[in-house]
């Protein structure tokens, strides 16, 4: 993976010093909360319901064992012993105090990490394919380009105060695992007929209040020009994006208002000034960065490990985990492994300090000391020998990270929701827990097969509900939490936005609603047809009929929410430390 040189270290150290000074000025009262808010957001620091939350950047989802151990250290020293992996392949800590924030950044800098631009109206951390470099369907390894773009976007002086946040995603595979169609800029690395590398560029995708699938602005931008081309897109957005209404400020609104033809004309008019200029990436720079992403020292192994095959025949539990968690690898004898952070009863994406330390050790023992964080909020060990999969499974099982549910019903995406977030209308984590408990039976889950349930506590869509096969959105009705249900969303190559099935439901009704949706699927499916494919074939009506034809009983066993607690928000003019501490 990429390693900092003296320049990267210098920039990171100067950033820590800058923020340390800003925090001191906030604590002394010299900076108002309004002035400080934007500064702290650009350092990943949010003020949540109970405490400060810091979102640490994990560039394109790649972490070393040493970095994972640093997360464990932060969890122990500054937080309550756990962290939360997010849909943007980052990690968040939820129980921090403001005076500690500069020390946390200083600790992170020792392992070449930071929280730069993980929030705020700037270019955010760039996300990518969790199987980059090892996937069988990969055409171009996106990681060197992601790193080059990370450096370009870091403290870009023109783009620190955009109309709204700005997210890049990059993939280099046939199957898009980076959800590039729902990002402000989506980059698909590919080769043209001459074999040259370039990018198909999508623009104006996104979820949130107005979900939009991105539009192609260029079918092929040669790799040398990707910085200058991206810069022109962001510049036109900075100049012309709406700033009068926060809900209409994303680039997707500008692209829709101008139309893709006119938007492209403006971008390429700007680009003519910089194309072939100094922003052009040199072969030497690409080579330098790409050298950090060369293949590790793989052994020459048979394509199928016979002993492992025998273990799969003998051990049903292992076979069940293997079927869900082990992914193909481009090198014979190796596999990529997904470690589940979706054990029923645990908030999706949460990991304790013990688990993080142990995951680091597993990475060192089995996967060349590296891990990836997935946008599905799980961990990946990307380079495991087939002959060591069984031992890895046994170790992961002891750690609670071997639930055989990857891609299944309880592998839900879920935002922090009303338990933590000031924006939420409803709780997400308790709902995920209630659904998981209702459908915990793994045989049932394997029978239902691949399905994605995504839960967002509000319209900002951190839980990606628009692209869930079943999407659940928390809505507010007279101060009470309700849940709207959508069907038919999808991510990846067949990205689609879900459709709302009808009026919303209470927390206590939701497990029954999910059960009815699954009943329609089980009744209507052909053979191995996936939930989403059945939906596409039969349409929304049978599901509506099933859900709404008879009253949905509330499950009284589920704990009713404490609405007073939900209403405790923390507006930005509150004291800069939580009075609870």
């Amino acid at each position: 993976m990429y390693r900092y040189d003296s320049f990267d270290h210098q920039i990171t150290a100067e950033r820590v010093a800058q923020f340390r000074d800003q925090v001191a000025r906030r604590l002394s009262g010299e900076l108002s909360e309004d002035e400080f808010r934007i500064l702290r957001l650009q350092n990943g620091l949010y003020m949540q319901i109970h405490a400060y939350m810091m979102r640490i950047a994990v560039p394109y989802g790649l972490v070393s064992a040493a970095q994972m151990r640093m997360f464990a250290h932060i969890a122990r020293k500054y937080d309550r012993g756990y962290g939360h992996f997010t849909t943007r392949q980052n990690i968040q800590f939820n129980w921090l105090k403001l005076p500690d924030a500069p020390d946390i950044l200083a600790d992170l800098a020792t392992v070449e990490m930071h929280a730069n631009q993980t929030s705020g109206n700037c270019i955010r951390n760039i996300t990518s394919d969790e199987f980059a470099g090892v996937a069988q369907d990969e055409i171009v390894d996106p990681r060197p380009y992601a790193e080059i773009l990370r450096q370009w976007s870091t403290f870009h002086p023109e783009f620190g105060y955009l109309p709204r946040k700005f997210k890049f995603a990059i993939t280099g595979a046939v199957n898009d695992r980076a959800a590039i169609a729902v990002h402000d800029i989506g980059l698909q690395a590919l080769r043209n007929a001459q074999g040259e590398v370039g990018f198909r560029v999508l623009v104006g995708g996104g979820l949130g209040r107005t979900p939009v699938i991105g539009t192609e602005i260029s079918a092929f931008v040669p790799w040398q020009h990707i910085i200058s081309y991206a810069e022109s897109i962001v510049r036109v957005y900075n100049e012309y994006g709406r700033r009068d209404n926060i809900y209409k400020a994303r680039i997707k609104i500008l692209v829709k208002a101008l139309g893709i033809t006119e938007f492209k004309r403006q971008v390429e008019a700007d680009w003519q000034f910089t194309k072939d200029g100094p922003c052009t990436i040199t072969q030497a720079e690409l080579n330098r960065v790409a050298a950090f992403f060369t293949a590790p020292a793989y052994q020459s192994l048979p394509a199928v490990d016979a002993a492992n095959a025998a273990l799969l025949d003998e051990n049903a539990g292992y076979a069940s985990w293997y079927k869900r968690s082990v992914k193909p690898h481009k090198v014979p004898g190796y596999a990529a492994v997904v470690l589940s952070l979706k054990k029923t009863g645990i908030a999706p994406g949460d990991a304790t300090d013990t688990q993080m330390d142990a995951a680091a050790e597993l990475a060192e023992r089995y996967s060349f000391g590296e891990l990836r964080i997935t946008h599905m909020q799980n961990l990946v060990l990307a380079d495991v020998k087939q002959s060591e999969l069984f031992a890895l499974w046994q170790a992961a099982k002891k750690l609670g990270m071997a639930t055989a549910n990857i891609g299944l019903l309880t592998d839900m995406i879920c935002c922090p929701g009303g338990d933590f977030c000031t924006l939420a209308n409803a709780r997400s984590i308790p709902l995920a827990k209630a659904i998981a408990e209702c459908f915990d039976d793994l045989d049932f889950q394997h029978d239902i097969g691949e399905i994605e349930i995504n839960i967002s506590g509000c319209i900002n869509a951190c839980g990606h509900h628009h692209v869930g096969h079943i999407g659940i959105l928390g809505v507010d009705k007279d101060g009470e939490e309700w849940y709207q249900v959508q069907l038919g969303g999808a991510q990846g190559n067949e990205a689609a936005l879900g459709k709302v099935i009808g009026r919303s439901f209470s927390f206590e009704q939701m497990p029954e609603v999910i059960a009815r949706l699954l009943q329609v699927y089980v009744r209507e499916r052909y053979d191995d047809e996936r939930f989403i494919d059945t939906f596409r074939r039969i349409g929304i009506e049978p599901y509506k009929t099933e859900v709404y034809s008879t009253p949905v009983e509330a499950d009284e066993a589920l704990q009713a929410p404490d609405y007073e607690l939900l209403k405790v928000g923390m507006p930005y003019d509150m004291p800069y430390y939580s009075p609870r501490f």
Binding site: D5, R15, P157, E158, F159, G160, F273, A284
Partner: protein, 168 residues
């Protein structure tokens, strides 16, 4: 007081802002150093361009291109930040410097705070009028927040990877 070329100095220019009901064509531009709104400049260009002590300020929704024919004549252009979070002024400054080749004083006015000044400087500003309630000497320090930058902007024609040998 303003900061100019990294030095705190007296501000001897008046920033003319149109009051409600005043028209750009008829407003009286006072004698002495004055920075007028773009509309006033455009409406009264014939007389104003005779004067060497008149500068022009752009609002954040105006464009550098509106001064395309004037940049070689003007000694002072200012860009107004109505709120410090309005980032359009950075692109205006970049365009003035990088695209139109403006060489004169480029001053940030309005809601100018020290924590934005490093980026402003990179985008092309060489003068700053920080908000009056802030300590201007403290603000000066922020211009040195970073000694290394990755990317091209108005202050830096080459990206880091073309300027230095990386990897050391």
């Amino acid at each position: 007081m303003i900061i100019k070329n990294k030095t705190v100095m007296e501000d001897d220019s008046l920033v003319l802002r149109l009051a409600e009901g005043e028209s750009a064509a008829s407003v009286v531009v006072p004698a002495g150093k004055v920075i007028v709104p773009l509309q006033v400049w455009q409406a009264q260009r014939a007389t104003l361009q005779q004067r060497a002590d008149v500068g022009v300020w752009l609002a954040s929704d105006e464009r550098a291109e509106d001064l395309r024919d004037d940049v070689q004549k003007l000694a002072l252009i200012a860009v107004d930040f109505p709120k410090f979070a309005d980032g359009r002024g950075y692109s205006i400054a970049y365009h003035l410097r990088a695209r139109l080749g403006y060489q004169g004083e480029l001053r940030a006015i309005g809601d100018v705070l020290r924590d934005q000044m490093f980026y402003m400087q990179r985008a092309g500003f060489d003068a700053f009028a920080p908000r009056a309630d802030k300590d201007i000497h403290a603000a000066l320090k922020s211009l040195n927040d970073f000694s290394v930058t990755y990317q091209v902007s108005a202050d830096q024609a080459q990206p880091l990877f073309r300027r230095v040998v990386r990897g050391v």
